[in-house]
Amino acid sequence: MSTIFGIPTPALYGQILIGLINGSFYAMLSLGLAVIFGLLRVINFAHGAQYMLGAFAAYLLLNWLGINYWLALVLAPLAVGVIAVIIERTMLSRLYGVDHLYGLLLTFGLALILEGAFRYWFGAAGQPYAAPSQLTGAVNLGFMFMPVYRGWVVVASLVVCIGTWLLIEKTRLGAYLRAATENATLVQAFGVNVPLLLTLTYGLGAALAAFAGVLAAPIYQVSPLMGSNLIIIVFAVVVVGGMGSILGAIVTGYVLGVLEGLTKVFYPEASSIVIFVIMAIVLLVRPAGLFGREE
């Protein structure tokens, strides 16, 4: 069996793949956070809860209504997006005039409510969610066996990230979004309905988190706490990348995921903190973040 630095290569590739998958979730979630923050100036603490909601929506759709994975991939983000739109209209929009910290505190409260409620209903333990039959099994890549579902997650997350990036960089809606991120008042003075744009952006960001949640359901267990543990890591990812750049958020997500996977191979004890350590180093060397602009 071949080895690299004394590590058997299949184990190495396996951890890189796991890192790539974790990175897929970091990328999708930090992308959503960055888009929401750019326009609303709100750090959406409920992002983790919305990811969890997406996973639970898929689980409940399957177990209560018999709706399959593929439909859930569409319906769950839609449902969570609608909830987010209601949250933005009734609550978040009241906070745009005050210190940005209140947006963080509000969404933190909402995250606690959602998590607490789901823990009350479903318990803290995870619920299994089977991958769709089309995506079971594994393929031989020559250097390793890759479970099909995991490959799918990486591909789907790349498609979603690139799609979102294209939406923002290449469409008219995206131009509104970029312009409003710079100067919302002026964009509104040109006749763009900026309040509506804010609502849609929050809905879109939450839907993205829910989509990630559905993707995650067959890999991780569906559990009420799956979101908050993840979101704190994603915060670190966002600090590393800086929220000024959409592409930066995506790239940082994947890279940190892979680095975390590699740490698991070479120094497993540090794997749960490596991203935080990287964050600390980045703060020392380049406080604004790798892709960030100094504010």
Binding site: R178, A179, T185, Q188, A189, F190, G191
Partner: protein, 235 residues
């Protein structure tokens, strides 16, 4: 002259936070007219434009466009009722390229210039259409800021110091553009410090001081009133 004014401002008061910045401003602009606001820095000219647009929200009084009340409208509805705004700071977006900047403001009514027409009028913008908006020179940015509202079909344009800090050649160009717009029947409310420029385009002047309208006179009286103006404006 008997027809109702296009824009009618009556007893407009406005506040920045706690400070009272406009005190009972009255202003009339008729269809097709170009009106210039004169006054020292801080007299309230820019504030008047911002209050009319609704960017400055704390206002009292009457603002009517074609008889329709603007005061109660949310900001984006004001532009949609047919006003184009060219802010003093020009407001070119750094994250948008020139062509995206140009097409950003939504169309508010029929009859706006097409992108092709605009590029004919401003060939520089066509050449640099893929550049980042803020990479343009100051003059080009000003052209872009004006061009941007011409596309929307707005028939009434608020222009805030379009010649500020620009070279004489560019000022000349902007003057030509404004003349062309007047010929097309556009109504323009201009804030301007440059007399010579304003004299060429303005049909009427308003003079502001300390957030109040202190005088108004037709454009041809400008020369005769120079001494008086120098006193008020301190130039």
């Amino acid at each position: 002259m008997s027809s109702a004014p296009l824009l009618e401002v009556r007893g407009l008061n406005a506040w920045y936070g706690e400070s009272h910045v406009l005190h009972g401003v009255d202003l009339d602009i008729r269809e097709g007219e170009t009106v210039t606001l004169l006054g020292r820095n801080g007299a309230g000219k820019t504030t008047t434009l911002r209050a009319i647009m609704g960017i400055l929200r704390r206002r009292e009084g009457v603002i009517r466009l074609r008889g329709k009340d603007l005061l109660g409208l949310p900001l984006h509805k004001v532009a949609q009722s047919g006003i184009g705004y060219v802010p003093e700071e020009r407001g070119i977006f750094a994250s948008l390229n020139v062509s995206e900047n140009l097409t950003l403001p939504p169309t508010v009514s029929e009859g706006g210039m097409s992108v092709e027409e605009i590029y004919t009028l401003f060939p520089n913008l066509h050449e640099r259409r893929s550049s980042q908006g803020t990479k343009l020179s100051g003059g080009e940015q000003q052209m872009l800021a004006i061009a941007r509202v011409l596309r929307t079909g707005a028939r009434f344009i608020l222009l805030d110091e379009p010649t500020e800090g620009l070279a004489p050649v560019i000022v000349q160009r902007i003057g030509d553009v404004l003349t062309a717009l007047k010929k097309r029947g556009m109504t323009i409310l201009l804030v301007e410090q440059n007399f010579r420029f304003a004299k060429k385009v303005a049909d009427r002047f308003y003079l502001m001081e300390d957030g109040r309208m202190v005088n108004s006179f037709p454009g041809h009286e400008l020369d005769a009133r120079m001494d008086e103006l120098h006193e008020v404006l301190g130039v």
